[in-house]
């Protein structure tokens, strides 16, 4: 990620989600990711990280749950990654990851929505929203 992008990513994240106190971290190889905790009613919390892949921003970030989730959780990919993109997006379609407009801040909203759906699934065994793609 170049310097300009990094600054714009940081600004977008802080502008939208500073209340969640997102922290930007760097691993040993220099790969950057955000860490933050999502909150829902009833005191439920989901710590996540949003990882910038090496091909960023052409490749969208990965959203990873930082807690173990029950086996059989729908819309969860290997590596505890939250499934949030449609496999057909190798072609240009509506609502796909758009590198000129989207930042990791988008992923926080996506993860929040996934978290609510997950809580509904825990109590009803039904995933309440149709658009996430099952693994």
């Amino acid at each position: 990620m170049d310097s300009k992008r990094l600054v714009l990513e940081h600004a977008a994240m802080m502008e939208r989600w500073s209340a969640l106190e997102p922290r930007l971290r760097s691993d040993a190889s220099g790969q950057l990711h955000w860490e933050l905790t999502l909150h829902a009613e009833g005191g439920n919390r989901l710590p996540i990280k949003i990882v910038y892949p090496s091909g960023y921003p052409s490749d969208a970030p990965d959203i990873v749950a930082l807690t173990s989730l029950p086996s059989g959780t729908p819309h969860l990919l290997p590596g505890n990654r939250i499934c949030w993109r449609h496999p057909s997006e190798s072609k240009r379609n509506r609502n796909i990851w758009c590198p000129s407009k989207d930042t990791a801040a988008l992923c926080v909203g996506v993860a929040q929505r996934w978290f609510y759906a997950f809580l509904v699934w825990l109590s009803t065994s039904k995933w309440p929203v149709p658009d996430a793609v099952s693994n």
Partner: protein, 294 residues
């Protein structure tokens, strides 16, 4: 080869000395890219860099819509295309590079910086985005093209230094509601009846039509025809091979749009900061990120 004789019939339109100075990269040498490369050689472009994925060889199902044929079956497409092109312009310098542009960004950037124009002839979004980013960073003109499902038509865009980039255009086209590729008819891929469609089903002439427009936009760019010139005022060509309800009112209909640059584009926009301010802010962010990570 007698150079004067070779260009005798085109010299009045296009001086071969002008084209000789050009360096074009053609990224993706499938049906569309191979045709753009072939036209470039016929314009007299001095150096053509053919880039394709590693192990991309000509298979039998490619032949029906490719400039290459059975003689080259099983050969790497780039190498076979080089021989094919040299047959019509032996004076052309051709480099063949086998690489994954998404994984090998630094190498791609080095190649693009040497070019006078880059032609994006790949059909997947991540590769298009990577090529766009590197062309914008280098300030090199990028011409991209795409064939719509079923070959009903296609698009050709030109990204010039300071103008709308591919990402600006893609966002404009997708999210403005002005244009929606899903209006194009969905087609079934008969080459792969059991699986997900992996390639746009289109006829050779459908692809060639769009590729020739791409080559023409490259030609106009080479001749210095920019946005103010009356023969190509705009940066995006939409062309219908067939009539499609709501998209192409009749066969062979075309339109040229001027898609505006998005000043807030994260790829080509400056974010309202100077380079020094950007670098200082980035350094500060990185310093804090490392501290909190250890």
């Amino acid at each position: 080869m007698n150079r004067d004789e070779l260009f005798k019939r085109t010299r009045a339109i296009l001086k071969p000395e002008v084209a000789q100075q050009q360096v074009w990269a053609i990224i993706g040498v499938g049906s569309g890219g191979a045709r753009v490369a072939e036209e470039a050689a016929r314009f007299g472009v001095g150096t053509i860099i053919l880039i394709d994925r590693p192990d991309e060889c000509l298979e039998e199902h490619n032949i029906i819509r490719h400039v290459l044929g059975y003689k080259d079956l099983g050969r790497p497409k780039g190498e076979a295309l080089r021989d094919h092109i040299l047959n019509s312009n032996p004076g052309c310098e051709i480099e063949v590079i086998s690489m994954d542009v998404v994984k090998d960004r630094d190498r791609l950037a080095t190649i693009i910086r040497r070019c006078t124009q880059v032609h994006c002839c790949v059909d997947n979004e991540p590769a298009k985005n990577v090529i766009n980013e590197e062309a914008v960073a280098a300030g090199v003109t990028l011409v991209f093209a795409g064939v719509f499902d079923g070959g009903c038509g296609g698009e050709v865009g030109r990204v010039v230094d300071g103008g709308a980039c591919y990402a600006c255009m893609a966002a404009f086209l997708n999210r403005s509601g002005r244009f929606d590729e899903s209006q194009a008819p969905q087609t079934f891929d008969y080459t792969n009846p059991d699986g997900i469609e992996n390639s746009t089903a289109a006829l050779n002439l459908d692809i060639a039509q769009i590729a020739l427009i791409q080559a023409r936009v490259g030609l106009l760019t080479m001749l210095g025809r920019h946005d103010s010139a009356p023969d190509f005022k705009g940066n995006y060509v939409l062309f219908g091979n067939r009539r499609v309800e709501g998209l192409f009112p009749r066969m062979l209909s075309s339109d040229i749009w001027e898609i505006p640059r998005d000043p807030c584009c994260l790829i080509c926009g400056a974010g309202g900061m100077t380079e020094a301010q950007i670098n200082a802010a980035a350094e500060d962010i990185l310093a804090k990120a490392v501290c909190s990570g250890n």
